[in-house]
Symmetry: C2
């Protein structure tokens, strides 16, 4: 549950919640063209005037023609409007240098959690204790989701000092250690990394694919931050593309679900609750069963489906809205990039903290390492620090404990927000941190 | 999956799907004020002009003030915006003659299926085979949902010849028959009835509450059609109100979840995927656990939450949009009432069919009873008839077999649609039915 204020003796501070990637809540404005198209669809009488630019009107009219009864109030197909699934598939093919994407392998869902829940149910129906290999640190919603569906996790440690990379030896160690305890069925990857900000190279992706192949693991790849890669010389390459371009031994056999969402990155439309996944190398029967499982939701939110259509096929050069759209996207990316640089320096200057530079995504993941002697409290340091930070300064951050070093932990902060808002967060953090160090 | 066309040798007929309650898809227009408020929230720059009426602008501004960052793109609390939950609770209290409703016992969910899924998980976690008592006929999505979560069903037959009433003796028979096979934890009621159209009297509701009390069953009550009651002298009374007005023995102990939704009845906003439930007499701990289970979805769709705010607090007398809103709602109700009357007469005039008159909801539930000798097919008659009807005339209806009389079945048809669309459905049905009778 979100809180909106917290009491301190001196004054009431507005809580600044940077623990999740909800950028609109932090003051990032929505992308105008997305909202214009949705508006046209929801309130078609507006299409008659010139309130909306002509390309937004045209897009809305086209989308309405593909909705039953011409209304966003109707159900679509259980796995999403076939029209929108076509848009998504075309866009994926373009992204992947022509690697084919089939709309009937694209499933629109109520959100990424729902897509993951369905895939986990599908993968882990056999006898015994099923498990999923997950990175450490992992997205904060992932372990809760695994608990929810009753699936064990097998953690592999990301290599912080080499930019949070995935190490094949560590993958081997983790899976060996799980033997006898549980049966890993899948490996979950977040690329660009949530919360690490690491962007995998093609070679790193190939490594993971080979590991999945050798261990017969399903690849659950969250690629929600694919449009927020900003480090120089760094680009997003999809698992789907890398897999398709590997030898047949891999490309024809390794099973993959790639997840993408409206909620994250530049769009930030969390409230619309819509995501999609593309499935690769699954049997037709399993695809059909996936559809059956998704049918329980009747259909994904229609407004979100419309926004997905825009996200996957934004205005083109020459379209009336192209300049505004492009300018809005690039200004948000620029803000993000400046904020990352500012926040990374900030933490590296703060006694006890260190922070890797990041390549993509919206989070930074600084490490706090306190001198051994200071840690005499019963609470783990991450929990203690973040609870006190929230109470004292109204700043809510995510954290993950370091299970091997009790005086160490990592924090997760979303930095996609207006720069003055970030300054406010860092200012409060600075103030709290010095007090915390003095006290402990 | 929806189809849009079907091939016949002669021509391509547009499929008319009357099996679900998706009225927008059948051509019913959305309620203007709902769409205006959503539009104002999604695209706030429209609030500056006079494109929208002043009360829609004011409502949108107020709602935006209660969304983090003033954007529909932000997450709300996991169980829905507390502002909207307050609106809902106030509206429930008004509906129930002042019986108090607490916003923290109102949970907004992605849709009714999700709410039910969470409640079923909560209720049926004990050892052994848990079951839910369900009416026969039942909403078509209910048995699928029970299968999905792995819960058995115990059917009780509704009394067709007395207007699809619930009979206490039949409830007793059903629960006795389940002994040794499974453990019923809850009883599911749909009032007004889907698909029967029956509206329960206060006495009938009291009967069910006493039964639930005696058998220690949780009451899962779907009241989605509470705003579409139209029979003379008939009014909707909520389970919550009846329960609150009974002796303490019942009012302080019987546990109840009452479900309501945007999707059904006059609103018909299925595509927005938002519902809510109110929980009564649950322990605080269980309420907290319900919240935890709902947290898996992060939050319900925000656009749907806005529409719920309007549905539960529509324009008041004197407001600029009051007349239009009232006129739109009453014209849809009038259409529904005319259609019901037309469709019930139609089926009663068709050889082999009989149809009870109905009091509320959007469905009719005619019975087909074929002469014994005609039924020489391997398929049950409901499946056979509806499959052939779809193939031959492109009309998709729901059906439920009669398990005791193989030559009997019931159909489910939504009749909330423009009257000329209903005539088209009935015309095709008539044409098919005469052919079907000749052939069999």
């Amino acid at each position: 549950m979100k809180k909106t204020t917290t009491d301190t003796p001196a004054k009431v501070l507005k809580v600044l919640d940077v623990s999740s990637g909800d950028s609109h809540s932090a003051g990032i404005q929505p992308i105008t063209f997305v909202r214009q198209v949705i508006t046209g669809c929801l309130y078609p009488r507006i299409l008659q005037g010139d309130t909306l630019p002509p390309d937004a009107r045209l897009r809305a009219q086209t989308l309405l023609q593909h909705l039953d009864g011409g209304s966003t109030g109707s159900y679509t197909e259980s796995c999403g409007s076939m029209y929108v699934r076509n848009t998504i598939a075309r866009s994926i093919s373009l992204r992947d240098g022509g690697v084919l994407s089939h709309p009937d392998r694209v499933f629109i869902t109520a959100d990424t959690q729902r897509a993951l829940m369905v895939m986990l149910r599908l993968l882990c129906q056999s006898e015994g204790v099923s498990a999923v290999m997950i990175p450490d640190p992992a997205p904060h919603t992932l372990t809760r989701l695994l608990d929810h569906v009753g699936i064990a996790s097998v953690s592999f440690r990301l290599q912080e000092t080499s930019g949070w990379s995935i190490d094949r030896a560590e993958l081997n160690r983790a899976i060996q250690a799980s033997r006898g305890r549980c049966s890993p069925r899948a490996i979950y990857i977040s690329n660009p990394g949530n919360p690490t900000g690491a962007v995998q190279s093609r070679e790193s992706i190939e490594d993971v694919i080979r590991f999945a192949h050798d261990e017969r693991l399903f690849l659950l790849v969250n690629e929600e931050y694919q449009n927020t890669v900003f480090a120089d010389g760094c680009e997003f390459v999809s698992y789907k593309r890398v897999l398709a371009e590997m030898d047949e031994e891999f490309s024809q056999s390794v099973q993959l679900a790639s997840l993408h969402s409206l909620s994250n990155g530049i769009m930030g439309e969390c409230g619309l609750r819509t995501s999609f996944m593309e499935l690769v190398n699954l049997d037709e029967d399993v695809m059909l069963y996936t559809e059956v499982l998704l049918t329980g939701d009747l259909c994904p939110p229609v407004i979100g489906q419309i926004a997905l259509d825009v996200m996957m096929a934004p205005p083109c050069p020459g379209d009336p809205s192209y300049c505004v759209y492009t300018e809005e996207v690039s200004s948000r990316l620029k803000t993000l990039q400046c904020n990352v640089s500012r926040a990374v320096s900030f933490f590296n200057d703060l006694p006890g903290f260190s922070c890797q530079s990041i390549q993509g995504g919206v989070f930074i993941c600084p490490q706090l390492s306190l001198p051994h002697s200071t840690h005499t409290h019963s609470q783990p340091v991450g929990l203690l620090y973040s609870r006190r930070l929230l109470e004292d300064q109204g700043v809510c951050v995510g954290f993950s404990e370091d299970h091997t070093h009790s005086h160490c932990c990592h924090f997760r902060l979303c930095v996609l927000m207006p720069s003055d808002e970030l300054e406010e967060v860092l200012g409060r953090l600075h103030c709290f941190h010095l007090k915390f160090l003095q006290e402990y």
